[in-house]
């Protein structure tokens, strides 16, 4: 019996699975939380015999991983950071794949009156005027950068805010948990919000302003800078991501009857 157990233990430590071709891709938390990856990855595996290993991080860290050559491609949503990434010679090119949108979430009572806002900037001004708790990602992610640019568009500077502005330095899910815990306002991407399980007293208050659209782009890591990067696999994946099959899968993906992503890759 003892030997059996030790044997089982030994086989456990020695197990290694056989793999198809594999590549690593850094994606943003908001993309992963949407659940779309669980639809796309099995199809990619079936069509290309390619195991895409996802590293789910914020856009800031995703770009760092790409710069260091620790992943083969990145899928992120912060155009300015992406252009800087390309300017540094870290990637081969930038390919737009799809977009979704950001929404403003807040307590159902909505003391700040965000529901009546006409634009995103107006919504933020209402939050600032009422000085109600607002949770910010504060982690240099694409969503965080978007939020900062919206404050700027609303002629407000988050560095000067008092205690009501709370930068938590965490991923989308953790930030939503925080907002739910203290009944605060927060900006989130629609997908993460719909998939979020701990909504508590929060509700979707504002959406639809075109500035809230959120473009996702795919950037393969440069094989010149990082010779080990699997550029051939990254190109294969890109060809699949802009294919008609990906288009129908992405456009048809719904949560609670709501469409999340709009495919807009150019052929």
């Amino acid at each position: 019996m003892k030997h059996l157990l030790l044997g089982a233990l030994a086989s456990l430590t020695l197990t290694t699975a056989a793999f198809a071709e594999e590549m690593k891709m850094a994606v943003t938390t908001s993309f992963h939380n949407s659940g779309l990856a669980e639809i796309l990855l099995p199809e990619i595996k079936a069509d290309l015999d390619l195991d895409v290993q996802l590293l789910v991080v914020g856009t800031g860290q995703a770009i760092r991983l790409g710069e260091a050559g620790d992943v083969d491609a990145i899928l992120v949503h912060s155009k300015r950071a992406e252009e800087k990434f390309l300017a540094g010679g870290n990637g081969t090119h930038r390919r737009e794949i799809m977009y979704n949108d950001f929404v403003f979430i807040g307590p159902k009572s909505d003391t700040a009156g965000v529901q009546d806002a006409t634009t995103a900037a107006d919504a933020l001004q209402k939050v600032a005027a009422a000085a109600v708790p607002f949770v910010s990602r504060g982690d240099d992610s694409g969503t965080h950068k978007k939020e900062l640019s919206l404050w700027q568009a609303a002629d407000l500077d988050p560095t000067g805010f008092d205690g009501w502005y709370r930068a938590v330095g965490a991923g989308m899910g953790a930030a939503l948990n925080t907002a739910s815990g203290m009944d605060a306002y927060i900006m989130a991407d629609r997908a993460s919000w719909l998939n979020f399980g701990n909504k508590g007293d929060l509700a979707l208050l504002f959406s639809g302003d075109p500035v809230l659209f959120n473009q996702y782009a795919y950037l393969p890591v440069s094989p010149e800078k990082h010779p080990h990067a699997k550029n051939d696999l990254a190109m294969k994946l890109e060809a699949w991501l802009v294919s008609d099959k990906a288009k129908s899968l992405i456009n048809a993906y719904k949560i609670n009857g709501e469409t999340l992503f709009v495919f807009n890759a150019k052929k």
């Binding site: 456990l12 690593k24 938390t29 290993q53 710069e67 948990n177």
Partner: protein, 234 residues
């Protein structure tokens, strides 16, 4: 409270139905941590015995540093290992980042000081009992170390189990160096962090209960294998 009950229920169902994802990440947790523990014990136990038996100039400092490193913040260890293993770091060519091997390396670094410190504490007391005897028998340095390690094996087991406990429940370092990749480097603790992020507290708690149950099972198994607390032994 409802979350807690939901979590227990979820844990129960996950275990009863032998959920394939759960089995996979649990086995990976065990594999990573037991491998790390074996390596760490192979380093830390002889080191602890050497520190008890030998007298050298930097001995006090070494012991103090080991004790201090017991409190190493895992996330810092993770970052340092990450910087070394990153493609642009000194060991980047080995391509170990985001693999279970990287997670094992990080855990070894985290638990070696802990295991060595606890082991040294008990071996030092044993050595004060054995000192005169072993010296009068003219035992060599190696023989002394062997005698201490063998006769102190129960205490060393405790040290190893403490190391196991710290490694199996650790999340900061393996999140950084492992990346929490589904079907590659996802383990129980990183899965718990992920489910918490999704706001699915019942699932996160369910996984947490599985983790606790597994830690208890491993401890019991090791005691059973070592015949501790049985008649005629100590």
């Amino acid at each position: 409270m409802a979350d807690l009950l939901d979590g227990m229920l979820r844990a129960f169902w996950l275990v009863v139905t032998l959920d394939s994802d759960l089995v996979e990440i649990t086995l990976r947790s065990l594999r990573v941590t037991l491998t790390a523990l074996a390596i760490a014990a192979a380093i830390a136990l002889p080191l602890a015995a050497m520190l008890s038996v030998r007298r050298f100039r930097m001995r006090r400092v070494t012991i103090a540093v080991l004790n201090a490193l017991m409190g190493l913040p895992p996330v810092v260890v993770g970052l340092i290992v990450y910087v070394f293993l990153s493609r642009s770091g000194p060991l980047g060519v080995m391509g170990l980042l985001f693999t279970p091997t990287a997670m094992i390396i990080a855990q070894v670094i985290i638990i070696v000081p802990l295991v060595a410190s606890i082991a040294h504490q008990s071996l030092r007391e044993l050595w004060s009992d054995y000192h005169d005897l072993l010296i009068s028998m003219n035992a060599t340095q190696v023989q002394r170390v062997k005698a201490l390690l063998w006769d102190g094996r129960r205490a060393l087991l405790t040290a190893a189990l403490a190391g196991f406990g710290r490694a199996i429940g650790e999340v900061g370092a393996i999140m950084v160096v492992g990346g929490n990749i589904d079907h590659a480097t996802r383990v129980l603790t990183t899965a718990i962090a992920l489910e918490t992020g999704k706001g699915d507290f019942a699932m996160a708690l369910g996984l947490g209960f599985v983790l606790i149950a597994m830690a208890i099972a491993v401890n019991l198994a090791i005691h059973w294998l070592g015949h501790t607390e049985s008649e005629g032994r100590w």
